[in-house]
């Protein structure tokens, strides 16, 4: 077995870690926000739709992780095609997944904290919903930037001949 057969391993490791860690982060985040949202609904069930939107905000990182995992897996041929890639290329794919692997879960949890605070804000001042939505969305910017770099890197690598 040559070292090159490790290429696919590292590439897949990057893909699954992106989905796995971002998923954990989002699950934790949506859970935290959900507790706060349920608390608000016990007092005032009419705020359900507003707090539900806020609860869902930290959930997008999990989707971004899934997106990166899926893109990587189609590029490296795990979803059908030729899964024969070099060790260097495999490591490059791993590196390309890193922004999502690290930023995804961390931003999800911090976004959840902002979401919890925003849910409390909506509980007291429901008319300020528009502003409450923006605070968690500010955190998400960094997840989006990480996603963007991961996507561009994955596409870039597929064009490199190593």
């Amino acid at each position: 077995m040559s070292m090159n057969s490790f290429g696919i391993f590292f590439a897949l490791l990057g893909a699954v870690l992106a989905a796995l860690l971002s998923g954990i982060g989002s699950a934790k985040g949506v859970g935290m926000a959900g507790q706060a949202a349920a608390g608000v609904c016990t007092e005032d069930p009419s705020k359900f739709s507003k707090v539900l939107i806020l609860q869902l905000l930290p959930g997008t990182q999990g989707i971004y992780g899934l997106l990166i995992a899926f893109l990587t897996m189609t590029q490296i041929g795990v979803m059908g095609g030729n899964p024969d890639i070099s060790l260097v290329k495999g490591l490059l794919y791993f590196a390309a997944c890193l922004p999502m692997i690290v930023v995804g879960p961390v931003s999800a949890i911090h976004q959840a904290k902002a979401a919890v605070a925003s849910i409390n804000m909506v509980a007291k001042k429901p008319e300020q919903f528009g502003k409450a939505m923006i605070f968690p969305a500010m955190v998400e910017t960094y997840a989006i930037l990480a996603l963007l770099i991961s996507i561009l890197a994955i596409y870039g690598i597929s064009a490199i001949k190593i």
């Binding site: 997106l67 528009g130 969305a137």
Partner: protein, 675 residues
């Protein structure tokens, strides 16, 4: 009307106190005047505090609402969907007056139904109590004396329970052990169970104390007390339970029979709410012995008709004036059908402050485009368009904000459809997947009218940045417009034109580098001479900012320092532009997740179960994808508008126009002659 914050007039209405009630009721039905606190406070005019009356009406409204809740729990009301379809019921003046006449009677009915409900819940709670009494008597059923019987003149009787299962033999032995001297004791076991043993002891009166003492040592416990024998007592209790259940049913019937009064209850809720609102206004009036003065704001377009209507019916003076600079006039927006739908978005940030323009039109232009780029799937767009159109046509009586929001998503849906076709996405790559899997035609696919972002992400990124730069520049343009409108042309040049030069020049300069254009996958590279011209423009802009950003300071040293900080603001523009990369990321997220679901659905292949699985996965997957990505697109479009766009020119801080009206829930109190 293009875009506007409606001009407001300040109105003062002076009238006789005897007309106060009809005038206020008229104003309430017209719903076009926002009443302010009266400022007259001298020996003639003073304010009356009517908050007590207001609280009383609020309470009545709550009682009626409670009665309605009770009724709804027993007799389901129309579904809320049906109510939305139908809208609020209109009431003519005659109907209104007829109901007002019997308002005390309606309130009586409300209190009655609440009392019935209270009795009902108490009765329901009493039933398990009786049941537990019956259960407690069960072990004693074979005992034929009343359980509270303590004996005769010469004998004492002890009935009760001992813990655990005790046989008669053991019990006799134990009793004999403790009190060997007594012989005149008779013991019987009534019933046993693993938990307890029911015993009956008869002894001579003289031994009663010793026996009782002994029994207590054996953890003897008293039975439930009955004055008749247990079997009869149990029968009585069962009868009582029957009666209670019957009573519950009767009460339910009684409550249900009130169903015909639902309309009355609904009317009472609306009527008392409206009256409470009216009394909150009375507290704000300046009143003398025979007259009152009402001050408030009304939109300029309504001022004339308001004056005519009031003056034709009452002895009244209506005066309308321009609000002065210091006064904080409330804000009401009016826009055409294209821009009005985003008014709630603007409102959720903040209404325009004093002298600011209404940004709705600008927001609308970009809102639909940005949303469409983020969701960018033709099928999802069509679903949104159809859904919103259906809701708008079916539901008659939507709140103004909800109607506008639905219209906004209608337009967003159109834009999403357009971008979906431009980027070749219809349920992701569903056309190709279905053709390949079930018809073996991998050549069929929906061609993108422009290009597919997933294949050329850098091109899409360049497009996103271009849209972003346009968005930011329009925001700067709005700032320039406001400076010019206020006559501060010089400020406009310093704060806007220099930035146009710096940011625009720097971006244009980049286009003269082939490394940049090839990275952005553009085919055109600017000649370097033209590039250097733009470079100089950018530098000129930067110098301009350096010299003028600190123009408030007199000290030149401070001024340059502030200028340097001003130029540092270019990093803000960089991050603002980069922020638009979310358009690409969210757009890709929609199409990639759609692709994932299509792929999952088609994994079983072309067979009957394959088709079934495909349909199920397709419906669930795309519903989820649409929901999550529409939410994402909504949130991030708002963010781009609030943070990047409004950050350039808009402050807000206006007060919402909140006219005195009847905010009813069930009925429309019609005014025969609307303004």
């Amino acid at each position: 009307m293009f875009m506007a914050v409606l001009p407001m007039k300040q109105v003062a209405i002076c009238a006789l106190k005897k007309d106060r009630k009809p005038i206020l009721e008229l104003l309430q039905r017209l719903g076009t005047v926002q009443v302010e606190d009266g400022d007259l406070n001298d020996e003639v005019f003073s304010k009356q505090d009517r908050s007590e009356a207001e609280a009383l009406f609020q309470k009545n409204a709550q009682i009626a609402a409670h009665a309605l809740d009770v009724l709804n729990a027993y007799v389901p009301a129309e579904s809320s969907l049906a109510v939305l379809k139908r809208g609020r019921k209109a009431v003519t003046i005659e109907e209104y007056n007829a109901r007002v006449q019997k308002r005390e009677q309606i309130m009586g009915e409300c209190r009655k139904i609440i009392a019935l409900e209270k009795e009902h819940s108490e009765t329901v709670a009493a039933i398990p109590k009786v049941e537990s009494q019956i259960v407690a008597l069960e072990p004693w059923l074979s005992y034929d004396l009343p359980l509270d019987c303590t004996g005769t003149r010469d004998t004492a009787i002890f009935t009760g329970t001992l813990p655990g299962e005790v046989t008669l033999e053991n019990f006799c032995k134990k009793l004999a052990e403790y009190i060997p001297q007594t012989e005149k004791v008779d013991e019987q076991i009534i019933s046993t169970s693993p938990q307890q043993t029911c015993i009956f002891v008869v002894c001579a009166r003289s031994d009663a104390a010793a026996v009782e003492d002994t029994l207590r040592k054996m953890e003897f416990a008293k039975p439930p007390m009955t004055s008749v024998n247990p079997a009869e007592a149990a029968k009585g209790l069962k009868q009582k339970k029957e009666q209670l259940s019957q009573h519950v049913e009767e009460l339910e019937q009684q409550i249900k029979s009130c169903a015909s009064q639902r309309a009355d209850f609904e009317f009472a809720v609306d009527y008392f709410r409206a009256r409470a609102e009216k009394y909150s206004v009375i507290s704000r009036l300046s009143q003398s012995r025979c007259t009152f003065v009402l001050k408030g704001y009304t939109p300029e377009k309504d001022a004339k008709k308001l004056k005519d209507t009031l003056e034709s019916r009452f002895d009244v003076i209506v005066e309308s004036t321009e609000p002065t600079e210091e006064e904080d006039a409330p804000v009401l927006l009016q826009n055409n059908t294209f821009a009005a739908p985003v008014e709630p978005v603007v409102k959720s940030y903040s209404l325009p402050g004093k002298g600011e323009l209404d940004p709705s039109v600008l927001v609308a232009c970009f809102y639909y485009v940005l949303f469409g780029m983020m969701l960018s799937d033709a099928a999802y767009g069509i679903i949104m368009v159809v859904g919103c159109a259906l809701a708008l046509s079916k539901f008659k009586d939507l709140a103004d904000g909800v109607r506008k929001t639905l219209k906004m998503f209608f337009y967003c849906g159109i834009s999403t459809t357009v971008f979906g076709f431009l980027f070749g996405s219809f349920f992701g790559d569903a056309v190709n997947v279905i053709a390949t899997t079930f018809f073996n035609r991998p050549d069929i696919k929906l061609p993108a009218l422009w290009f597919e972002p997933i294949n050329r992400p850098m091109k899409m990124l360049a497009f996103c940045f271009a849209v972003g730069i346009l968005h930011l520049f329009v925001g700067l343009g709005a700032k320039l417009y406001m400076y010019i409108k206020r006559g501060h042309v010089l400020d406009g040049i310093c704060d806007v034109v220099f930035w146009y030069m710096l940011v625009g020049g720097a971006i244009a300069y980049l286009f003269s580098f082939s490394s940049f254009t090839s990275m952005m996958s553009l085919s055109y590279t600017m000649p370097s001479q033209a590039g250097s011209v733009f470079g100089w423009i950018a530098i000129a802009g930067a110098v301009g900012i350096l010299l003028t950003a600190g123009r408030d300071s007199r000290n030149w040293f401070k001024r340059i320092l502030k200028g340097l900080y001003g130029v540092y603001g270019i990093t803000g523009y960089l991050s603002d532009i980069l922020s638009y990369s979310r358009l690409l990321a969210l757009g890709l997220a929609t199409s990639v997740i759609a692709t994932v679901f299509n792929k999952m659905g088609s994994m079983i292949g072309n067979s009957i179960p394959g088709v079934i699985v495909f349909i199920i996965v397709f419906i669930i997957g795309h519903t989820m994808n649409l929901a999550i990505n529409a939410l994402g697109a909504y949130v991030h479009t708002n963010r781009l508008q609030f943070v990047e766009f409004f950050g350039k020119f808009y402050e807000g801080g206006g007060r919402e126009f909140n006219p005195f009206a009847a905010h009813t829930k069930y009925y429309k109190f019609k005014e025969e002659q609307r303004l």
